[in-house]
């Protein structure tokens, strides 16, 4: 059961049952996951849980004192709300510890139908001000807010002083910011929505093409969104991480974001000081190897801090996108 009393609760991703068990065994306090459909924002092929698998996963986690958070964090399109309603009822039946939601109607349904279940507000809701967060707390009984990755630590501290909800922040993984829950770049190029279909850069529309000189082009929906030289590190095939040419920069430049991962390992004590309850690791689409390494590293770091020791942090750069890492907006408002 989540009480919110633990400072530095480690919230870890799982894309498969084996990943969830790996996360629990590596020291996760809570694990978030989703069903194999559009109700969550990682609706990727071969990923996620059947109801039977989730039942087994909840048992495995609970027997070892860990929590399972069910991501229902996409937005139901008109006429399709039943899918989200059924997922919420199923999650309740399977005894998940909390629902992670973005859409107000989903939050309303859970708060009325399953009032005993915790609701965590997804980063996809993009609630970044005390007024917005307090609205969700007042109207839907939200217990925790996952803050967008656009706030400095002093800003997080100020928000905490004006809200009653717990705060969860991302500490490692994908650094795709834009306006979370509002990004329509994939939709623009493919006709499919990150926010309603749960698919950012759907794999069936991604293509990698190598030329005779070993350069690799990344295409999405027929559009070339990046080209990597033979020795150059690659990134995710998302429009926000693409390079584009214009008259001034004919060789291409990162118009939105660079391929880079968030890593706040050095800022954990400051985040705790600012009132952050839970630390979130991104990466439900990543492997068990990633889950094992990242969760173990942060488990050790959080335990060191709690014990008053200087945290010893493993080098995680090999697991980062583009083999580069940043402290993003948490460190400075201008992070590019």
């Amino acid at each position: 059961m989540i009480t919110g009393d633990i400072v530095g609760e480690l919230v870890c991703p799982a894309g498969t049952p084996a990943s969830l068990r790996t996360a629990v065994d590596a020291g996760a306090d809570s694990i978030y996951c989703g069903f194999q459909n559009a109700t969550n924002a990682r609706n990727f092929p071969g990923l996620n849980f059947t109801p039977k698998e989730l039942a087994g996963a909840v048992d495995y986690a609970h027997e070892r004192g860990a929590n399972v958070l069910l991501a229902l964090n996409s937005y139901p399109p008109a006429g399709k709300f039943d899918l989200w309603r059924e997922a919420a009822d199923l999650g309740n039946e399977l005894d998940v510890d909390a629902f992670i939601v973005a859409d107000m109607a989903v939050a309303r349904y859970i708060s009325e139908k399953h009032p005993e279940r915790r609701i965590h507000l997804s980063v996809q809701a993009a609630a970044a001000s005390p007024d917005a967060i307090n609205y969700y707390v007042r109207e839907f009984g939200v217990k925790r807010v996952v803050l967008p990755r656009i706030l400095t630590i002093p800003e997080i501290h100020d928000i905490k002083s004006e809200i009653s909800a717990e705060i969860e922040t991302f500490i490692f993984g994908n650094h795709g910011l834009m306006v979370e829950g509002r990004c329509s770049l994939t939709n623009y190029a493919t006709g499919l929505s990150t926010n309603m279909d749960g698919v950012c850069s759907p794999a069936h529309l991604v293509e990698y093409v190598k030329d005779a000189d070993e350069n690799m082009s990344t295409r999405l929906g027929g559009y070339t969104i990046d080209r990597f030289g033979p020795q150059e590190n690659a990134g995710y095939p998302t429009i926000c991480k693409g390079r584009y040419c214009n008259e001034v920069q004919p060789d291409g430049y990162y118009a939105f974001e660079e391929p880079i991962s968030l890593n706040l390992s050095k800022l954990l004590p400051d985040l705790m000081e600012a009132g952050v309850t839970a630390f979130k690791i991104e990466g439900r689409q990543r492997s068990r190897a990633y889950v094992r390494k990242v969760v173990s590293a942060f488990r050790a770091a959080v335990d060191d801090i709690r014990a008053g020791r200087e945290p010893q942090l493993a080098d995680l750069v090999a697991l980062t996108e583009g083999q580069k890492q940043t402290e993003g907006a948490y460190k400075t408002k201008k992070w590019r």
Partner: protein
């Protein structure tokens, strides 16, 4: 690097990936392997969904062969093919033996080796992503399971394959250093 060949010998040998290798003796062994994996891990094939019917070519960049995989349980295909005579396929995966073995056993992260360009994919990206995710949900070592089914010779073969891959890596480094 261990097992490094003396420089003059390394210079005389062609890269391992270019050596001719008889494929016929490998075929029944590979078929037994994929049958065994299908019997032991049916959930892997359920997770593949529609991509059970996809033809994958897995190119071992440091060995003189590629593999053709069609993971459709009623008529499984896993066979060795020549790199210059690849069969019709929808998805193509390329990497060195050790990288692919690590991926098979979830010892390495697929995204990380894609970012570093140690894994190269082309064709049907969705099929490759689905296969990667399905394999990642299999706990335990598939490679060791397979080696075990052939008893002591299987374990020796796995060790030798690892040694061959290491030798190939050494040779490649040796050629690179000229």
């Amino acid at each position: 690097m261990t097992n490094a060949l003396p420089d003059p010998i390394a210079r005389r040998l062609p890269p391992l990936a270019e050596l001719p290798v008889p494929l016929l003796p490998l075929q029944p062994i590979l078929y037994r392997i994929v049958r065994r994996v299908a019997e032991k891990h049916p959930e892997l094939f359920e997770r593949l969904g529609k991509h059970q019917r996809t033809n994958f070519v897995i190119e071992l960049t440091d060995l003189p062969l590629a593999l053709h995989l069609r993971p459709f349980p009623p008529s499984l295909i896993l066979r060795a093919v020549r790199k210059d005579r690849l069969p019709r396929h929808e998805a193509h995966i390329a990497g060195d033996f050790r990288t692919l073995l690590g991926l098979l056993d979830a010892e390495v992260d697929g995204d990380a080796i894609f970012f570093s360009r140690d894994l190269v994919i082309s064709g049907d990206t969705e099929a490759v992503v689905t296969l990667r995710n399905a394999l990642d949900d299999v706990e335990g070592s598939i490679a060791e399971d397979v080696a075990e089914m052939f008893g002591a010779p299987g374990r020796i073969a796995l060790d030798r394959l690892n040694a061959m891959a290491e030798r190939a890596e050494t040779q490649e480094n040796s050629h690179d250093n000229w």
